[in-house]
């Protein structure tokens, strides 16, 4: 059973990666300059008070013990408790994760909806002025910093036109309409930037296809330019697109922090930044660990997607 053996090997690699990652995360975070007790007590604390607080939070115990405690806790879903608030890390992460997942979850499919037609068009029309224009526009979008575009859209749609609120998050469980109206601008901002970014890959992918023998054969057998490209090119282009999308999702999970700042959304990125700032290392560790999990998971899903897109790989695996 080569499939099973391959799966088992992947699982071993996965577990090993997670373990190594957890140790690396733990050690790096311990090595950060700045101590949570000192930052908390702030300007004016005596060394005795700092020591007392460290003791209260168990920070005076050996590293190795604290590492295994943390690791053991995570195995049954306990990421520890924040030093500062005394609340479980999980209960702090969950509402923040929801915000980030909505933003990422909405903006990635929508940016594909923008990117694929844009890339297809600019690949096909690449020798005409219209294709060049679309291509140039995608460069502009790509060069536009997310926070700048966010401020721009806020000024136009929230301040001048007053169509959408520009900041704050309302949970979908509280009010669907409020939630939706507050999602528009942040998602639109990401879609414009991400769409332009992905369009570049779509364009390059289709241009490759245009030079392939199978496309020429398809054309020769009577497929029109456009239909041939969509019917025979999409799948081939998709393999490289999926890789890029996977990478984009991973980086957006924490990279959405810029969007969170501009639109004042309480997402995962801002939790991480705040926790680093206050040296609430248990929270930092928890969030980083979660992100590592997410990235590994996305990689796994991307691998599955290859199998789905490319039948040759399925046959190879069997």
């Amino acid at each position: 059973m080569p499939v099973l053996r391959a799966a088992l090997r992947r699982l071993t690699i996965f577990v090993g990666t997670v373990l190594v990652a957890s140790l690396v995360i733990f050690l790096i975070i311990q090595a950060l300059p700045g101590d949570v007790a000192q930052v908390t007590l702030g300007v004016g604390a005596s060394p005795d008070d700092v020591d007392a607080l460290r003791q209260k939070w168990g920070l005076d115990r050996p590293l190795i013990i604290r590492y295994f405690e943390w690791l053991g806790g995570m195995l049954h879903g306990d990421f520890g408790a924040s030093y500062l608030k005394g609340q479980p890390v999980v209960s702090q992460i969950t509402p923040r994760l929801a915000v980030t997942l909505w933003i990422v979850g909405l903006s990635i499919p929508l940016s594909l909806l923008v990117a694929i037609p844009m890339g297809l068009f600019s690949a096909m029309m690449r020798r005409r002025w219209s294709g060049a224009l679309i291509n140039a526009l995608s460069h502009v979008g790509l060069a536009m910093p997310v926070f700048f575009l966010g401020v721009l859209l806020t000024m136009v749609f929230a301040v001048h036109l007053g169509w959408f609120p520009a900041n704050r998050y309302v949970p979908i469980t509280k009010s669907v309409s409020q939630w939706a109206s507050r999602m528009v601008l942040p998602v639109m901002t990401l879609v414009l930037v991400q769409g332009c970014f992905l369009a570049r890959y779509v364009r390059a992918g289709f241009i490759d296809v245009l030079g392939e023998d199978y496309y020429r054969t398809a054309r020769a057998s009577g497929w029109t330019k456009w239909r041939g490209l969509v019917r025979h090119g999409m799948r081939n282009m998709a393999t490289s697109l999926v890789t890029v999308v996977g990478l984009q999702i991973s980086s957006l999970l924490v990279g959405a922090v810029l969007i969170e700042e501009v639109f004042v959304l309480p997402g995962l990125g801002s939790l991480l930044i705040d926790a680093v700032g206050s040296r609430d290392l248990v929270v930092v560790q928890g969030v980083v660990m979660l992100l590592v999990f997410a990235v590994l998971l996305i990689n796994f899903l991307v691998d599955l997607a290859y199998l789905w897109i490319d039948p040759r790989l399925r046959r190879g695996a069997a």
Binding site: L32, P33, G34, D35, Q38, V39, T40, L41, G42, V43, G44, A45, S46, D49, A52, L53, L84, K85, G86, P95, V99, L110, V114, P117, M118, F121, M125, L133, I134, L137, V151, T154, A158, V159, G162, P165, A166, N167, R168, Y169, S177, A180, S181, M183, V184, M188, L192, E261, V262, F263, V264, L265, P266, S270, L271, D274, V276, G277, S278, R279
Partner: protein, 494 residues
Amino acid sequence: MKSSRIGVVAALIVGMALIISGCTTPPADAKTLTVGITVEPTTLDLTTDSTAAIPQILLYNVYETLVKMDSQGRIKPLLADSYDVSPDWLTYTFHLDTKAKFASGAPVNADAVVASINTMREAPNQTLKSQMAVVADVQARDQATVAVTLKEPSNFWLYSMTDTVGIIFDPALTDLATAPMGSGPYAFESWVSGDSITLTKNESYWGTPGRFDEVVFRFIADPNAMVSAMLSGDLDIAGEMTSPDSLELFSDASKYTVIEGTTNGEIVLGFNNSRETLKDLAVRQAICHAIDRQALVDAVWAGKGQLIGSMAVPTDPYYEDLSATYPYDPAKAKELLEEAGVTNLSLDLRIPTLPYTPGAATFIASQLADVGITVKVEELDFGRWIDEVYSNGDYDMTIVAHVEARDIVNFANPDYYWRYDNPEFQKQLASAIAASPDQFVPEMKKAATILAEDAAADWLFVFPNLIVTREGINGVGENMTSLSFDVTTISSKD
């Protein structure tokens, strides 16, 4: 073919608009006050954490003190309707307002006051503990009278009792970190991490009740987001404008009021006075002469912010303008350095990342370069700054705002990160604090003058209190004399 891209965007907007069809944002409830502030606290336990954002939200609004500081820096009665001071200035007797009660319904009695003062005397937050260090004994004389005896006379102690250290906690309070309970006109309601803290009206408030059913403090760290939230009507008050350049966006007086007051925050260019080069008075004087502070305020903070010249702010009773002690005079600076025989001076300027620091550091580095001092600017995140600069004193110069009231006392502590050890100043400050009340102000002025003349630091400017309110909001204090963002006096016309 630009139209196809616009078409896609337009389709997206229409699609989104359809999802939310028919639901424009409802008009803000007239009884809710929404205030934007920049820093979210990590905990609400102010006995442990010294973050200014905690008293900013809770002091006077949720927690009350025996005496209160008004916006002009005067002491007013609050939970104590009067107090007596013994002739030897050692014993303060507070007569509690018998009407006073906590939001929970329990009375604010002498036991609660004694317990709170004792909590503060043992607080892990060193600032609070040191402010209470002068207290020898606290006793309940009867249910409405508390006597506090000091070890030595202190003109500072009563002032400090108007601030965080004077808070009287509800004895029923068990969770300081997430569920504060006090006697103020508003009670703590909820905290949505990353978003806001909501206070509700204390329906059974013992004094003049709050004018709003709900007060929401929203956390908006990004200056642009604060501006757009105010412009789009999401805020009633932008409580801290950290982008002074954008104040002109609010120049329409029919829609907004811009408040420019002062705070307790001295923005200090701190010197590590234990460094060989900086031990030399002439070098410190030269640095002060080399910096054009007015031009710095104009360049970095849109000209908002008064020059002060020593560790005192305009709302301090002992304040006087000492900003002309070492006026901008680069030629004089060069001369001083030459006389001191200092050449090729190179200094590290290690700053925490804060809205005002990078601009100020660049400005200072360039002005000091003009007189031949090389400045290496390094930006540290606040945690690292606390560790390396503040705790370990690993720096030559740094810039940070000192926001606590009467923080001139820090210059009397040789272990403080400025490493400033001047027996003359220490003696003068101690005698000013212990002086008879009528000698307090002149003696404090002498202390502040010693610091200024000794160029113990360079005081760049006092952090301005920049607030924007929408039309119809009244009663916002002009100056921030305590750490509180006091909403108890605020009302709305509609």
